[in-house]
Symmetry: C2
């Protein structure tokens, strides 16, 4: 196969991410989102929110590329709710195998580059990776709020748990942390989820 | 509203792109794709295919950002098939209004930046914008081929028309052009669409 044929094979395989359904609802609650459109929305978020990172400016292209590929492994493993820690532990080995298979469809140099980006995200090895994780936590929170907490109740979440999830935002994106904290407090006050 | 609140409002509005359905089928033909997941796939394509652009290297971050936002206006206008030239002409004014409304949700400096990127894409003002258009034509072609031409027949397309669509790829991405031409010829030979 030529390099181009390998790349096309990867692109067609990536299409399967559109069939991986996540817990998060669309803002109008009409259906759950899939992991491909979720990845797109996170990239849009990165484009408009990086200015809130401090103290230093982030490498936006790196954040974008990490977000675009971060969920690809779910083609093989499916999505696991971020609160299901037991299942997430079991998932780690499977996800590494999925990354090898999927990025292995590409020419060797690109395989190494994308595998490196994915590992950087997974292991939160850089400020860019940590920021990408912040967005990956913030988006379901925003959607949870505007859909009045339906998925939170489905997963028996409490306000206390959500506060602990946003805790790591405090240091690097304080303004985003405070907005998220206000949302959670308001969600509890409105009865979208218990304290 | 603070800058952050304006940005969050934009992000939640952008979510509506997940409901804009396009003609193109997923690779397994199980359903049509939406414009958000389509934008994601084009960004993935850009990440692995830019090396085929010649003579000069492209600014990948610019291509990615253009692709991520290029369809946002369809939240207001809906998707129009690329062969429906009459409808596309009528669409131009509506899309400009949609861009003003959507990007206008952002703080002024970001509004100007994203509006500029969107116009650059629309008017094919740069090599990056032209390459983004190449990907936007190539993806439905790949999906059309693997789904045995169902959407081509729905739109009464011919091989001749598809060849004219890929013609602009010849100069800047000759290897991609040749692969696309081979696919079309093979699709005609297999009877996926008439000559």
């Amino acid at each position: 196969m030529t390099r181009l044929q390998q790349q096309i094979q990867f692109i067609l395989e990536a299409d399967k991410l559109k069939q991986v359904v996540r817990w998060t609802l669309l803002t109008d609650a009409s259906r759950r989102e899939n992991a491909a459109e979720h990845s797109w929305q996170l990239a849009i978020m990165a484009m408009v929110l990086t200015e809130h990172h401090c103290p230093r400016q982030l490498n936006l292209p790196r954040v974008l590329q990490m977000l675009l590929i971060h969920d690809l492994v779910e083609i093989d493993t499916g999505d696991v709710h971020f609160c299901d820690t037991e299942q997430r532990r079991r998932q780690i080995k499977k996800e590494a195998e999925a990354a090898d298979r999927l990025f292995g469809l590409l020419p060797h140099d690109q395989e190494q580059t994308l595998l490196g980006l994915w590992q950087e995200f997974e292991n939160q090895e850089s400020e860019e990776a940590k920021f990408a994780h912040v967005l990956d936590r913030l988006q379901p929170l925003l959607h949870g709020y505007v859909t009045e907490g339906r998925t939170w109740r489905e997963n028996s979440l409490t306000g206390h748990q959500l506060f602990s999830i946003i805790e790591p935002m405090k240091a690097s994106v304080p303004e985003i942390h405070d907005l998220a904290a206000d949302l959670i407090a308001d969600a509890v006050a409105r009865g979208f989820l218990p304290k």
